[in-house]
Assembly symmetry: D3
Homo-oligomer: 246 residues x 6
């Protein structure tokens, strides 16, 4: 099985963290192809950054599909561009927030998501709500910039642990979901430390991607995710016109 994991921000060192997490859980027969987006923001922090991360992300997925990937993972906890990717691609596509909360729901009745910045709480709550977990999940921010997770001199992990401790003490959390792809390397240690399931979305998505491939399932093209209609795109966006990809 060949699974494409796209980091939709342009920071290659973060892709390395993501790739390592993906490799760690991949089945022996699975090939992980990790890609860094070639265009867009260096980190995705809020609605604005999301917009400009999507074209580069979709380009990677389109190329990956052509190159034989059998499933694609969007390694940003905002599940940036997930709907568009599902409409575009014929292979299944997974977001890491979706994967993480779907997995957490299998091992806990109630869990807390700890994300990076305050401004991400509303978008992540929106996702949690959409994935049907509004009554089961609390969303918190540790107030750490995304790229600080890549910086060993920052206090990012310390702040993350403080927030996890609050979640356990105040939210009735039975499990913790790590709310950023940049935290993918921390799940195992934190799980050992706190004695509750700690879920990383990248790892979770890899396993779900393998599952969908094995089950022979891909996005339904009936209804919401119908293949984009062929039509002209103007100006800077011309090269993304549907006919170019399909």
């Amino acid at each position: 099985m060949r699974i494409l994991v796209v980091n939709p921000n342009t920071t290659a060192s973060m892709t390395e963290t993501i790739e390592a997490a993906a490799q760690f859980v991949a089945a022996p027969a699975t090939e992980i192809i990790a890609k860094t987006s070639k265009m867009g923001p260096v980190s995705i922090e809020g609605y604005y950054d999301e917009v400009f991360a999507v074209p580069g992300l979709l380009m990677e997925i389109a190329e990956g599909q052509t190159a034989g990937a059998q499933a694609a993972i969007i390694a940003c906890f905002d599940d940036t561009g997930l709907d568009a990717a599902r409409a575009m691609a014929s292979i299944p596509v997974l977001g890491i927030c979706e994967a993480a909360v779907a997995t957490a729901a299998l091992v806990a009745q109630r869990f807390s998501v700890v994300t990076t910045l305050e401004r991400s709480i509303t978008p992540v709550k929106g996702l949690v709500y959409r994935y049907g977990m509004a009554d089961r999940a609390t969303v918190r921010a540790a107030n750490i910039p995304v790229l600080s997770l890549d910086d060993p001199t920052s206090d990012a992990v310390l702040k993350l642990r403080t927030e996890i401790e609050k979640a356990l003490a105040e939210d009735g959390a039975e499990a913790i979901v790590l709310g950023c792809a940049g935290m993918a390397d921390l799940a195992r240690d934190l799980q050992a430390e706190y004695g509750v399931p700690v879920i990383d979305g990248v790892s979770a998505a890899v396993k779900l991607a393998e599952s969908l491939i094995c089950l022979g399932l891909t996005t339904s093209k009936r209804g919401a995710y119908a293949t984009p209609l062929s039509k002209p795109y103007q100006g800077l966006m011309a090269s993304f016109a549907p006919k170019a990809f399909m």
Copy 2:
């Protein structure tokens, strides 16, 4: 008052329809500035088209704000890019779906939205849900391509009327919301014909924009819509980096 109305697709004839509808309801002291996006799809039909409409849309809003617009309207019923625009701009921003359903809710307990294509039902339902109207609104599609609304030889209006009649007969609809910016010119005639409120989102958004300006209200920058953080954007998207606009 100066209100910017952006057609986020690149079809200028559709902008004309939108501009006329906006002008028709604007207050005497209001200047309507209608803009067609310079990049992206010729029509927005589904999740994929949405992605590539947003950069051009945001560029128009940023330019409009610089040029003195006091509010901006996104004239696409998917409310494409609304969250990003609210985060980016310091002026208030309105989506026409949001404006239409907020207005319909003032004159009816229960209403039906009639949009264009089947594939738009899920995105529009998502919006209706988010705007708190899940229990009050039904979403239907008339199966008409967006650009057929601009074509006097098509049977688009006939199909739209058939679907409105079904909504009145089957949904308990007390009012009708027209689910596409390209229908902006039809509201008054349909209201006269069917004897129930028929709401066009472009017109509704113009009045809400005037209201917000007059009330001195703009998007809160606390929380979800905090100003985008300054950071580099790579490749084709470099020119959209937050510092470029703010």
Copy 3:
């Protein structure tokens, strides 16, 4: 445009506050006609007072419509009598709670409503829920009697500010809705002080009323708001029988 604003309690000094707020935001061409109810409680604090405020309120709306008003506003945050008024009148009718939360939703993802007394929390929550904002709004009481807002020697505003500060600190509020018509004069100062949108329902309702008039929209008479059937009313209520008004 002629807009009727009815204070459904019988305290004329409060009507003055309401009228001033309405005038302040009305368009140049709008005539604000402010009326104090001639019968009922001197202030509306809880479900019981509401009941006896409605007949006087409806009488003012019926008279106002006859006298040429094109829209009516119910200037009490409980939206007292709103459904009955919509059924009775052929002009559009707005409640100030509905207007305030509909407006707040355009500038914030999450907001807090600060009302007067503890006993009003449940009725206001009921409205917020009905208007589709259950997931986006918190309701708080500042524990101030309605009429104390009219008394410059009271500590009402101090208590209101304390509660606003709690809302910002504890609720994740991005905006504040003032939950009483008697607070209509405070919105601008509080907005300047706290740097977040502060929404007064009277002002918001005036702009929405102008909008509906301009859009040619009024309450649908299909379904929930069908015109009251002509029938006898007995005793003290005889003069309110539907045929008397319509």
Copy 4:
């Protein structure tokens, strides 16, 4: 036990139907005191009629409480004035819609309410929603004026039976709730005919009233139903000022 049953419309023949239904199920030791409101509409059909039924209703409840009633029942399926009555009275108060749906929920997972007129569907749905049964109940109208139920020459019962049959065939209804006090005499026959539980709210409310009396429970005066504050009421409503009752 002494239980007051108030018909909040002024039609005495309907009170007789209600009283008979109440008597039929009352415990041997229970005294049913049935009262017809002395003021307001001859039937309650929609939001407008409701308003003018409440003062007469509250007057009966206040008088009944003074005369020793230990619980009060509002015998109109709109649960007209229920919140105000709960705030006013120190004895427990029950609405027949609330009683009927609470009882239906004990014998069926899913039920349909069949009410009189189309215009009552939205108010009744609002109640069903508030009582927590949004996911379990369907609301239908048989298109019969309230007073036709009292007229043996009308086809009201025929229409009601047709609608019950539709509910059983189309809604997955496991039980039927009769959605008008004027149908109180029909429950037993319809239950025998259709072989599913058929619930009349008047009967259900009598048993719940007996239960609350026996359990020593009455409306909490903490929060939403705090005793009305003493204050002047003006004009026609002066005699209803809180101090007059309490």
Copy 5:
């Protein structure tokens, strides 16, 4: 009337507490038949205990029905086995959680349930949600083992009172629901002490059972509660095969 009250755990002293509470509120003509399950756990604390309490509970209900009981009450706040009992029996069956929250909803807008152990919060929340009270009720645990309620030397009541005080101070609770059958004897004293309605589910269920009997209502056999199909059961469970009971 003959009402069966089954304690689904096997601790006879707890059955005595339950029986006393049931007797205290039963109508003069009601015969309370209290039974202790003959098989299963000595107390029900969490999902696992529930499973093994149900066969013994159903056996008691089946025997009780045969012996002439007209209604059955399951005296465990988890409403253990309620759905199966409703499907099995032709007499109405009530759970004490369902009875308590249905009754609380008649005297308060908002209430708190205080149960025993932390592990019971999620199951009880699940019930509260299912009974339509998700928006009106808070669930708390006093951290007291079920059987400690039977032990006069324990500090169980002290802990319960502490939790009730928190509910009143922090939850906006207008009433308290006691979340364990073993608390049935405490309701009256706590109500007197705290001045708000305190509801015990055993008492509430007795009154609702009398009501259903008097109203001639029993579980609908259409849909969810259709009579179990006759079929073989294997091994240790063979004696419970549907044909054995019906």
Copy 6:
């Protein structure tokens, strides 16, 4: 990896169908251990059968865990006993309904579940609701007894196909979930026939079980699924007392 799949009914031929479906999708390194419950009903059709299937199911899971299984699957679409199993076991446990809807949600916005009998619609809806898919899924019954799926001479598959066709035509379904373990062998053919994703819960659960094992995740023992407290169980249930298993 060693995965236990328990058929909680006692029909061995149905276990064969389940085992074959599990084997078909299991990874090369996965050992599927399929077990038929030794006690309880021959098929699970409604709430009553569920109760008596759980003890035998839990016994198999306890034995399987002792024998080295790393995850357990409950192969009945009612997810019978899932909560108790999660509390009892230290290995992760999956229900096939939960697995199927979690998987369907990854490939479709909206899907329909087709189950066996009418009486199962409410229990399955309850599960779909609990798993957060209330707004995305429709539940239908094909009116086929569970064991008829094992009988090649029955018209069960024909009826199932008819119901799938209705789901596609009437529900806006983008995918189909097969609502019975006995349909596990039909998914691939139906998917090929109808051109939409068709999800079988047994297969889906096997892949999720492999995923959880690989991710090192198991049920949180904090909160709802805390390990059962050691205590005596009486009578026929004595051998199931918690200490016996743990």
